[in-house]
């Protein structure tokens, strides 16, 4: 009896621990291999321990996550493996994710004070400011050597108070990728840098009519219609104001034209309806890749992945303007940056990795500017020597956007905390216009009111 009862206690305890073990994060491939290695050494103590490695450094495990396409995942993992081979005491557990999944997970990690040591952020960084370990001290004490870049590039990854929130992974801008061959077949002139939304609409309609395909594939409607769309109204006008505490425009009608155009194009069958847009999970499945559309919205750094997936010649042009002689609305920005988290146990090690990631020529020969054009001069020069034609097109396009008149205004590199909720609401009202439950003017007013109510 006694034995049985003890056994019962032991077994139930084992179950509890078993359950707890199930809850552990699945560790990455690299961790598993190191773990196996360490088990082996303990099992056979006769073998010499790795003295030369562990002498100076305690083993460090860093966690890292990012969002992106499969190309980015493969290249980033290769750089992580390179870093681990150069610094054997560092193990990096990584979590590649898609954009939505990344920010959903980040939100829960922020709430549980367990953010990855190294994480990727874009212009929405002010939302996560409380979780960012600023890099100013590391730059001051030389842990991060910034002599290879310049102040302008540092500033695009800093807040308005001058806190270095991260190191920029590359600069990019938005654009339209199009298939010149399909334009030719439909008898539509290729877009020029001064084309307008009317030109865009007519091109879509003609291409649809002549070829039976979509004129354009999925757009980032928030960027095209609201964020950049408002910038196109005039120099210095933005959706939010520069201090991120209010609206940057006062006429809701500025939002209406784009919504109306989107609804008209879906109606005509020249633009995928929301159900068809939902079929595109990432850039590699875009309708331009499958040949079902002649144009699509891209961030310039995605252009290479898009072209590779399409296997055809694609070209890159700036988004249409509201007026042919008006502001282009697009500007060069930090596509994303890598940040160190406040929850990190080894912020210094995380900072060292970020410096390596952004400034090492070897690392960037693997990354190949997939996150945008690098900001470290040596890296940019090393890459410029061996650019492919598509990569060269991206460089030229970014230069073109850089040459646009900005009226002397600088762009706001950040957006307010409410931006996610406003984006969601914008999408909601745009759908209402597409399904004719609201007019474009009503929807524009509703978006404006919602956004204004957030402050």
């Amino acid at each position: 009896m006694k034995m049985k009862q003890i056994l019962a206690v032991v077994l139930s305890a084992a179950m509890v621990f078993g359950l707890a073990a199930c809850g552990n994060n699945t560790t990455s491939e690299t961790t598993t291999s190191t773990e196996t290695a360490s088990v082996d050494t303990t099992a056979e103590p006769t073998e010499a321990p790795e003295a030369e490695v562990t002498e100076e450094h305690e083993p460090v495990t860093l966690r890292m996550a990012w969002w992106g396409s499969q190309t980015r995942h493969d290249r980033t993992v290769a750089v992580i493996e390179l870093y681990e081979s150069l610094n054997p005491y560092v193990t990096i557990e990584y979590e590649p994710m898609d954009f939505d999944g990344y920010f959903n997970k980040l939100a829960t990690l922020v709430a549980s004070n367990d953010v990855w040591d190294i994480f990727q952020l874009g212009s929405n960084f002010p939302t996560y400011q409380s979780k960012i370990y600023t890099l100013n001290d590391f730059i001051a004490d030389g842990t991060i050597d910034v002599s290879g870049t310049n102040d302008a590039f540092l500033r695009i990854a800093a807040d308005e108070k001058g806190n270095q929130v991260g190191l920029c992974s590359g600069v990019n801008t938005y654009g339209i990728a199009y298939d010149p061959e399909l334009f030719k077949q439909a008898g539509v002139a290729e877009p020029t840098e001064n084309w307008t939304w009317d030109d865009f609409k007519n091109a879509c309609l003609t291409i649809h009519e002549k070829l039976g395909i979509y004129g354009s594939s999925k757009f980032d409607d928030w960027q095209a219609g609201a964020s950049m769309g408002i910038n196109q109204e005039g120099f210095g006008i933005g959706f939010f104001n520069k201090t991120n505490d209010g609206m940057g425009f006062d006429d809701p009608k500025m939002l209406a034209d784009y919504m109306q155009m989107r609804a008209d194009l879906v109606d005509a069958g020249a633009f995928p309806d929301p159900g068809a847009c939902n079929e595109i999970a990432d850039i590699e499945q875009d309708f331009v890749v499958t040949g079902e559309a002649a144009m699509t919205w891209v961030a310039s750094n995605q252009f290479v992945a898009l072209s590779e997936a399409a296997g055809r010649e694609l070209k890159l042009i700036n988004p249409p303007r509201k007026k042919a002689d008006g502001p282009a609305g697009v500007s060069i920005q930090s596509s994303q940056m890598l940040c160190v988290s406040q929850d990190s146990k080894y912020p210094e090690e995380a900072a060292k990795f970020i410096e390596f990631f952004q400034s090492s020529v070897d690392a960037n020969k693997i990354l190949l500017a997939e996150r945008g054009i690098p900001t470290f001069t040596a890296v940019r020069e090393a890459l410029a020597a061996e650019l492919t034609d598509t990569e060269k097109a991206v460089y030229e396009y970014v230069d073109l956007v850089g040459s646009f008149d900005t009226g002397g205004e600088t762009v706001n590199p950040s957006s307010p905390e409410c931006v996610d909720a406003v984006k969601e609401q914008y999408k909601y009202y745009l759908d209402k216009v597409i399904y004719k439950e609201m007019t474009a003017e009503e929807a524009a007013q509703a978006v404006f009111d919602f956004a204004a109510s957030q402050f």
């Binding site: 939100a107 829960t108 929301p274 068809a276 939902n278 079929e279 996610d420 909720a421 969601e424 399904y435």
Partner: protein
């Protein structure tokens, strides 16, 4: 083991031993994995969500108490009201369809045959894998614009259906996927069917009853307690529909499949209105509780209880 020996063990040791060998202690230890799980993963999160539902918690900043503002705002939110509407519609369509299908297959599989158990396992399979993201992705491909369903429609010369681009058709792939996972209801029905004494059927046959009459006069009344059980279980799980809509339609088009749990997730995780989402989950609990209570109340009119008759 003799009674005397047990007594000696229980009385002859220290208080610790008396405690640890007590039947209750052993019982609680065996139940502890569940108890710990229930406290840590059900009760504590529930209570904290009740607290958060009265705050403006956004996952990042320290929350502020806002009283019942979230609950009041809910009923001013047209998206919330729409999500209630489409969820009720989904439940009303998917639950009867699923149960009817489960009963039909269970009925077919009561025939004495050697392959019945094989078929039962086969039909149970979708219930095991059906809730997974992988199957939902397959479903999404099936009903895509150029998916298998539309390709076959085209071959048959029928107009293709733009399943996910049309507000009235987008819900059907999701409802069909739910109905397809009828396996566990089917097993419960099959067990219930076996319990019905064959003597009832024999008596009915002597009286000249046909198959249809036997089904409505014998099978249905005798099975009604099982139907009640299945109905309630399926109602509850249908109200919580999330994965299919999240993976297949993302709530679209124009919120046609923005089911309650999906909208809750959008508010809580994507827009980070955790307080608002917590309030939503409590309203959900009240709605589901009410629906279940109504089903229970009406059950005495249609559930046949052999003990009462």
């Amino acid at each position: 083991m003799s009674r005397a020996k047990t007594d000696r063990i229980e009385s002859g040791r220290s208080p610790w031993n008396r405690f640890i060998y007590n039947d209750n202690t052993v019982g609680y230890i065996f139940a502890s994995p569940f108890i710990i799980g229930f406290l840590a993963f059900t009760i504590i999160p529930m209570l904290s969500s009740l607290y958060y539902s009265c705050t403006n918690f956004d996952l990042i900043n320290k929350e502020k108490w806002v009283g019942f503002a979230n609950y009041i705002n809910l009923f001013k939110d047209e998206r919330f009201l729409n999500s209630l509407k489409v969820t009720f519609e989904y439940v009303a369509l998917s639950v009867p369809l699923k149960l009817a299908f489960a009963l039909f297959i269970a009925f077919l599989l009561t025939r004495p045959s050697k392959v019945v158990s094989f078929y039962r396992s086969l039909y149970y399979l979708p219930s095991l894998i059906g809730g997974s993201v992988a199957v939902a992705l397959v479903w999404k491909e099936l009903f895509a614009r150029n998916g298998l369903i539309n390709l076959n429609l085209r071959k048959l010369g029928i107009d293709t259906v733009n399943w996910f681009g049309n507000m009235s058709t987008a819900k059907w792939p999701i409802i069909l996927m739910t109905a397809w996972q009828f396996g566990s209801s089917m097993l419960i029905f099959a067990a219930g069917l076996k319990e019905i004494p064959t003597s009832y059927y024999e008596a009915a046959e002597i009286d000249g009853a046909n198959g249809w009459q036997k089904f409505w006069k014998i099978t249905m009344p005798c099975l009604s307690p099982v139907i009640l059980f299945n109905l309630i279980m399926q109602l509850i799980s249908s109200f919580m529909v999330f994965t299919q809509a999240f993976v297949i339609t993302g709530g679209g088009p124009n919120d046609a499949t923005m089911y309650y749990a999906l909208y809750l997730y959008k508010q809580g995780i994507q827009s980070r209105n955790m307080g608002y989402a917590s309030a939503m989950s409590w309203v959900m609990l009240i709605v589901m509780g009410t629906v279940t209570a109504i089903v229970f109340k009406t059950s005495k009119h249609w559930v046949f209880n052999e003990a009462d008759s």
